[in-house]
Structures are given as C-alpha cells and as structure tokens.
Symmetry: C2
Subunit: 303 residues, 2 copies
C-alpha cells in the first residue's frame, strides 16, 4: 500500500479517511490536526507559555513533543499520584523525556504533600479512585498554573477519551457534565487557567503510532486502579462501532461539539460567589470536592 500523498510505501492505514500515509506525511497530517484544534478552539497563541500536564503515558508525552514541534513555548507538569511502582515509573518516563530535550518540568508528589497516595485518599472518602483522582488533578492543575503564572493548561485527552466520556454522559443523561464537556474549558474571565485538549481530533490509534514513530518512551501499562473502569467499556464499545463504520468516533464527538451550545449550553463563568471557602477554587457549595477529600484523609491520619 502506498502513501496517498507522496506515493512512498505507507506505514499506517487509516480506514476512517479511507487512505494510508508514509511516516513523514502521517506526522505532517497529525501536526496539522493538532494545529487545527488549537486554532479552531482559540486555545492559545505563541506569545504565552503553556503548561502541559504529562502523566508519562503516550498521549501527554506526544502532546508535549507536538507542541514543541509546532513552535509553542511549553513547561511540563507532572503529578506523582503515589501509586507504588506505577507512579515511580511514570515519573521516570516524564523526567527522561524532559531531560533529554532540556525542558523545564514541574513535579508535585502526593506522598510528599499528604503522606498518602491518591488510592488511600480516595478510600478515606469512600470515593471511587478515578473520580477522586480527577478531582485532585483538576485542583493541582489550576493551583500550579495560577501560582506559576500559566494562563493555559493543556492535557493529552484524545478523541477516544472524549468520545468515551460523551457516550457515558449520554447513556446516563448527565446533563451538567454534557454542558461542561468541551475541548476548551473557560478560564472564567481570567480568574483561573483555561483547560484545553489539543488532541481531541485524534484517535488513540493514531497517537500510539505517532509515539512509536518518534521513539517516545512512555509507560505502556494502564493505571492499576483503572481496571474495570466504565471508560474502558465505553472505549471498547466505540471501537466496535468504529470497526463497523470507520469514522464513527469522529462523527459522534465532532457532531456533539457542533450541536452542543444548542442542546447543552455551557454554564456561565463562575463568579466570586462560586468559590470554595477553604481553597478559593471554583465551587458551587461552601467547600470544594478537593478540600472535602483532603479533610477526610487528614482526619484518617490523625485518628
């Protein structure tokens, strides 16, 4: 099979585009897709540095690599979740990536801060691990971006992640989540960092190909806590639908984005009244989910 663009031997078949690309043309296509996502979503410009949240997995490390190639100024941010060997290896992958490319990396470790990992913190609140982990990540992304002066935090969520989340939200008609689901989350008039997902147009399969072609060393194992997570069921479901109709994921998620403001309008920016009384971050009640989590896990240590 030959590359559609340059007719050299192809390295990747792309059924959703009914085509195939060689290494060079595939990477060119992929970078253009990321730039399109950034431009269409008015995510960020080249003037200000971007904080890139890097877990050590293929998507976030590839995102960091791509943003540099596209000419953006970036700093990495790694949260060490304190999940034994998995977190240790993840951090090593991120540090190696940063060191070999001479990039600035900010790290924050849960064990050092709380004396506990995310699993123990979740248990103390009887919260599912993935849900507590999400709450904590959002808090620290926001906090570190503000403290370090970054207006934007970019994460490595790809098309599969976003489509799976959408499917889950629709199956349960979780309307507040549908209203908030977007590749660009507002900075609430400059009060907080904007959250952006520049990989939302690219499926996992293409991101894996990019990481391999660029010899990016990443942690292949999934998080040991995510075993049996609903997200896997939804991804598997969408993979089957994609196989039956190539392009199904793209049509599903991009179609949602087109219809979103009409059917699920975004919530208004938060005001000063919508702030956690403990940490000051956006929150609909007196205390935010993060502060409740930490309060309970701290009481666990004390008792």
């Amino acid at each position: 099979m030959k590359c559609r663009k340059c007719k050299k031997p192809a390295v990747l078949k792309m059924p959703r585009h009914n085509t195939a690309f060689c290494d060079v043309c595939f990477q060119d296509y992929l970078l253009k897709q990321v730039q399109k996502a950034i431009s269409d979503g008015k995510m960020f410009l080249k003037e200000a540095p971007i904080l890139v949240a890097v877990s050590g997995g293929k998507d976030s490390l590839a995102l960091w690599d791509i943003l540099i190639k596209l000419g953006y100024e970036t700093v990495g941010l790694h949260l060490n979740l304190g999940i034994g060997a998995y977190s240790a290896t993840s951090q090593q992958m991120v540090e190696k990536f940063a060191q070999t490319r001479n990039l600035r990396l900010i790290t924050h470790g849960y064990q050092e801060s709380y004396g506990l990992g995310v699993v123990e913190i979740a248990k103390a609140s009887a919260r599912p691990a993935c849900s507590a982990c999400g709450t904590m990540k959002r808090h620290h992304f926001n906090r570190i971006a503000i403290e370090e002066g970054f207006p934007v935090v970019a994460t490595g969520h790809n098309l599969d992640d976003e489509a799976a989340r959408l499917l889950g939200n629709l199956l349960k008609w979780q309307v507040p989540y549908l209203e908030k689901q977007s590749p660009v989350l507002s900075d609430d008039n400059g009060k907080w960092a904007k959250k952006v997902k520049p990989l939302y147009r690219l499926p996992e399969r293409e991101m894996a190909a990019y990481a391999i072609l660029n010899r990016i060393d990443y942690i292949v194992e999934e998080c040991p806590m995510s075993n049996g997570a609903k997200a896997f069921t939804y991804k598997e479901t969408l993979n089957r639908l994609e196989e039956a109709s190539p392009g199904a994921k793209h049509q599903f998620y991009l179609g949602f984005l087109k219809q979103k403001e009409k059917s699920f309008p975004s919530p208004p920016p938060v005001t000063d009244a919508d702030a956690c009384l403990t940490c000051g971050q956006p929150c609909q009640s007196e205390q935010c989910g993060y502060c409740r989590l930490i309060e309970r896990s701290t009481s666990l240590i004390v008792s």
Copy 2:
C-alpha cells in the same frame, strides 16, 4: 430462585430490577408497565378503538394481546410487504392470531396494490430497503387510520428498538430525527392519526418471555432484508452495555425522554401548507417520500 412478590418458583430473572418473577407476577408487572406507558404518554383512552399495527412478530402480536387484556377496543392492521415466503408466513401468523380470538383484522398487500413488493419498490428508487419500507408503512398506517376512522395507531416498538434508534441518532447527531423521536407522535391537531408505542418501557427479552408464556405463535425469523442493518449493531452494542450495567437501556432511553424537550424540542404541528400535493399527507416539500417512491416504481413497470 423465588418470585420476589409471591415467593413461588420464578420463571424469569430480571437483572435490571435485581429481581425475579413467577409467570403470574411477571405478566402482572408487564401489563402494568404497558398501562403506565399509555397513561404517562396520554396515548389513548378506552372510549375509541385503537388500530394496532401487527407485523406477525412477537412484539406487535404481544401488544395486541396486552391491549385486549387491558380492556381496550382494538382492530389489527397488517401490511403484506410482498417479501416472498417471509411475508406469506407473517400474514398467516397474524390471521391465525385474529381468527382464534375472533378479532377484526384489516390487511393491505403491496403485491396486490402495486404489482411489486417493497424490495422492488426500494430498488426502483435506489433507496435502502429498510428506509423505503419505513416510508411506506408510515403512509399506509396514516391513510388506513384516517379512512377507517381510527384516531390512534399503536405499534409494537419495544425499549430495545427505541434505544437502538436513539443511539444511532446520537452517534450521527441527526437532530431532526432526535426532535421527532418519541413514543407518542402528535396527530397534528387531529389532522392525522396519533402514533404511539406502548411497549417503549419493555426490553425485547421481556417481550419474548411474554409471547412464550402466552403461547403466542409468531414469526421468529427476522426480515430477510434487515440483514446487516445498522439497527442490529446498535442493539448488540446496547446489549453489551446492559450486561455490564443492568438497566442501562432503560436509563438511556427514559433519560432521553426526560431531557428531550429541553435539548431537542419537538417540531410544531404540521399545517395545511405542509402537505404533499399528490396524496395530502404531512410533507415538507411538494411531494412526499411515499409518492416519490411509488412514482419511480410505477415508471419502472411502464418502462
């Protein structure tokens, strides 16, 4: 395993309710679900006769049986699609059901009317068979209901049918179809028959159990034209999700119905201007899909 209600031996496990029922309590539950659908949706009352569209499959024959048990006055309507032995057997099943219960049945045959079956009519317009078949059914349900003086046509669509249709509409964000998807379709201020789906709360599995327990003789084969239809992929997908989370289909479809008017408001009733110039049925252009189909298939016979 014992029946949750009466403690007699159970005949059917119902994971979505985390329970099991004996024959009598299951049928009692099922009839209540249908009555709830009729009452919640203000589908019809006992004063006027209901036209029940019966294909010969388990759902529509079970629906007819249930409506009689619930005390509604009913007349059956069978369309013979002219698909060889499949259509012949389907009609036999319906006729046998009506004869043994001494019920009035109206039949309309495509071969007799057009000299063609639905497959040939679809081919003449290069339309997918299922789509042409749907267009034709809608036309004849409406026409016969009006001609024979029935204000309501009831069809045997179950929860699986409706959830699969919803999934398909959402995957492609077919907003006009989402706006029209409902277990109760307006009679347009009395201009046309109201279309209702009293089985929308009941999954296929429970309808099959009802048909078997009541020894209803139905055509087991699926329509030979539906092979590979997208609806099967969506049903299979939803069955897998149901297995992972019992109750998923119910939550998905009933959740949609709750959110529908906010996110996908129903179109306004049709006016006199929205009528096909040939047959007078509701239509957004000069000629409706049904009349276009028939015109093309007739020209095929002539040429």
